[in-house]
């Protein structure tokens, strides 16, 4: 059978003999998949992706790209993959077209610069200096330099960090179009929505190891409840319980909400309480009764689908965006 586009076993990377950035990480990514490495800053995502890209040597472990190792087939593998690094500042005094032509010239069978410009909606900017582009345009150009070699695998390290919503959606479309043509994608992100919408499979990475892996739906299933009920209450003296209660009181309250019907887990989110719930129609009436009988006032109530963020918080007790 044909080897997987990306496969690694038991990767470890130790910096300066001290910092363990990656601590035994194994992955297998199938052709045509969009695979996401999701995790907070410093989880080891960038180290992992750079080892897979052949830019960093692992301290131990093995990487195979289409079954070949970097040590033996680097030149050929470079023809097959396209990379967008987390931060590359391309030469500001070159135009967009010149930059794409430059990168095209490194590949033995590149795509036409004009086609790439068209596909990434940069045609209008083709004669503009790179220094004059907006953040979204620069990021599209970075992806353009990755696509111009006509790669089979696209590696994207935090492709949409710091972009406005419209630019993010444009990039997602580009990734999907690449995937539609049979390409394989590996991306890192710390955006939940990006992982949920874009990725076929996900690995949640924390402290250099994979703590959960599966499709986004799989991972959310593991929460127990697919719904989240979020609410905020205050007592009649208009003292906000959440803000005024000391730690003991707070835990008492959380334990109390846990006893409501169909609730799988409870956590506090700023001044609100979040319940992971299997069947909201059972939980909500009981919740309203409880609030009324305790003499509290409901300040806010909402229900939503559970997200990867909830998965991450459940798994680690921390939020993804926390440092």
């Amino acid at each position: 059978m044909v080897a997987s586009p990306i496969e690694c076993t038991n990767l470890r990377k130790t910096y300066d003999g001290k910092v363990e950035a990656v601590r035994g990480l194994s992955l297998q990514i199938e052709a045509g998949q969009c695979f996401g490495l999701l995790g907070p800053n410093g989880a080891g995502k960038t180290t992992t992706i750079e080892i897979l890209e052949g830019l960093l040597d692992p301290t131990s472990g093995e990487v195979r790209i289409f079954g070949y190792t970097w040590a033996e087939n680097e030149r050929q593998l470079r023809e097959w993959i396209g990379i967008s690094l987390q931060e590359t500042r391309l030469s500001e005094k070159l135009t967009v077209r010149e930059t794409i032509e430059l990168f095209a010239s490194f590949y033995s069978e590149p795509r036409e610069a004009g086609d790439i410009l068209e596909e990434l909606q940069l045609t209008e900017k083709s004669e503009a200096w790179v220094g004059k582009l907006s953040g979204g345009q620069k990021q599209r150009l970075a992806v353009a330099t990755a696509l111009v070699g006509n790669p089979r695998i696209l590696f994207l390290d935090e492709p949409t960090t710091g972009l406005d919503p419209q630019s993010r959606r444009q990039l997602w479309d580009i990734v999907r179009a690449f995937q539609k043509k049979g390409g394989t994608v590996l991306l890192t992100t710390h955006y939940m929505d990006e992982a949920e919408r874009l990725c076929d499979r996900l690995a949640i990475v924390d402290h250099g190891v994979i703590i959960a892996e599966g499709t986004p739906d799989d991972l959310i299933d593991r929460l127990g409840g697919h719904h989240v009920v979020e609410f905020q209450v205050s007592n009649n003296a208009s003292n906000n319980i959440s803000n005024n209660g000391n730690d003991n009181n707070e835990n008492d309250h959380l334990d109390f909400w846990r006893t409501l019907p169909s609730v799988e887990s409870v956590r506090r989110e700023d001044s609100s309480v979040c319940l992971s719930v299997r069947e909201p129609h059972l939980t909500i009436p009981a919740l309203l009764d409880a609030v009324a009988s305790q003499g509290h006032r409901l300040e806010h109530l909402s229900t939503r689908q559970a997200s990867l963020e909830d998965v991450f918080v459940k798994l680690t007790g921390r939020h993804l965006r926390e440092d």
Binding site: M1, V2, A3, P5, A31, E53, G54, L55, L56, R64, F66, G67, Y68, E72, N73, R75, Q76, R78, E79, W80, I83, L85, E87, T88, R89, L90, S91, K93, L94, E98, E101, L102, F103, A104, S105, F106, Y107, S108, E109, P110, R111, E112, D115, W129, T145, G149, N150, R152, K181, G182
Partner: protein, 394 residues
């Protein structure tokens, strides 16, 4: 695709793990090199600071120093004759003598006004006693002369002013010879301020050498670290780009700039300061190329590990500082004690400057400069080899 295949140890070019969806064009072997070189030149061209520091600044430096240290035109000594009985006669004696020396001068020196004549020209005026002494005391005249009724002369001079002392000697000689004194010794003088031995002629080859050093160190060393800091080097090595093509393109761009730098500065010297170029232009360009490549190598070595432009700036200045001082850019290193000369001559900039001066000013052949060329080649070669061994792309 083969379906029963296990992972082969080596890869064959015609094996495609996946079909390619889009028909592709083909790039030639040197396509990457050509694009890298062109991109580098475009970037330099679009950077006004580079144009200024590499091309304009050395010209300004040459112009400024050339003017400041130009050989001054012949000193004219201004004297005042105190009005009295013999004043007119004194004046006539001086003017007669001065015309003679001025005509001597113009016969021996056709072009330059900045040559010292055998005799200083004398500008003499007659004023009444009070006005004459007052003007002399204010420094308007170098000397005041009074013809005494008995036929003798009195000089009023200021021993604290060298030009006053010179003027007294000059005027005395002129008056004595005008009065009929015969010189008993036959003497002749040789002027040594021909074009080719002036300060500006010494300076311009030195500036050429310094400029090649500066732009090699900054153009290669600084540029590399800047690209490393921007993660552009890392981005490049993530492509199939040949690393040797990249370094070759960087070096080639230096050579192209070198031809322009050398051409501009030499033309400037020739056109503005009438600097003679005795050696062949080809030798100068070959020397410049060797210099540019050698300093490119030193620049590469300086930059092979540095991650930040701040640290490489310090390193570059540290490397260049001894050569600014010792390598004879602005003044001859002969001023340093003889014991230091072997070390000074082992510096690449000394070798380059000496070879450039020998070629440009004395018309020396490259073969006669082989020792200096060897010094440059060793510096460049050893630097390149070490730099490539230690070079950090990411």
């Amino acid at each position: 695709m083969a379906t029963t295949e296990t992972n082969p140890p080596r890869l064959h070019a015609d094996e495609n793990p996946q079909p390619r969806p889009i028909p592709a064009r083909r790039s030639g072997r040197w396509s990457g090199y050509r694009h890298l070189l062109w991109a580098r030149i475009l970037e330099l061209k679009r950077e006004p600071e580079v144009v200024f520091w590499v091309f304009i600044f050395p010209l300004l430096l040459a112009a400024g120093l050339g003017i400041a240290f130009r050989n001054k035109p012949a000193d004219i000594t201004s004297v005042v004759v105190i009005d009295g009985a013999g004043a007119e006669k004194t004046l006539a004696m001086l003017q007669n003598s001065t015309n003679k020396s001025a005509s001597d001068r113009s016969s021996s020196d056709k072009s330059a006004s900045d040559k010292s004549p055998a005799h200083s020209a004398v500008r003499a005026t007659i004023l009444d006693r009070e006005a004459a002494l007052k003007a002399f005391h204010f420094g308007k005249y170098d000397l005041a002369i009074e013809a005494n009724p008995d036929g003798s002369y009195t000089y009023y001079y200021d021993p604290a002013r060298p030009e006053s002392i010179l003027s007294r000697a000059e005027i005395d000689a002129q008056l004595q010879s005008a009065a009929g004194r015969l010189d008993v010794l036959a003497t002749s003088s040789q002027s040594s301020s021909e074009p080719g031995s002036r300060y500006i002629d010494f300076l311009i080859p030195g500036l050429l050498g310094m400029n090649l050093m500066n732009s090699g160190m900054w153009g290669v060393g600084f540029a590399l670290v800047e690209m490393r800091q921007r993660k552009l080097l890392k981005r490049f090595v993530a492509t199939p780009m040949r690393r040797s093509d990249f370094l070759l393109a960087l070096t080639s761009s230096r050579l192209i700039l070198m031809v322009i730098e050398v051409g501009l500065l030499l033309s400037f010297g020739v056109l503005v300061f009438h600097m003679p170029v005795q050696g062949s232009i080809l030798s100068v360009v070959l020397l410049g190329s060797l210099g540019a490549v050698a300093f490119g190598g030193v620049g590469l070595l300086t930059a092979c590990r540095a991650q930040k432009i701040e640290s490489v700036s310090g390193l570059i200045n540290l490397v260049m500082m001894p050569m600014w001082i010792f390598s004879g850019v602005f003044f001859s290193y002969q001023r340093f004690p003889a014991i230091t000369h072997p070390f000074i001559k082992a510096l690449p900039l000394t070798a380059l400057n000496d070879a450039l001066r020998a070629t440009i000013l004395e018309g020396a052949t490259l073969a006669s400069q082989s020792g200096r060329l060897l010094v440059l080649a060793i510096w460049g070669g050893v630097s390149f080899i070490l730099a490539l061994r230690w070079f950090r792309w990411t």
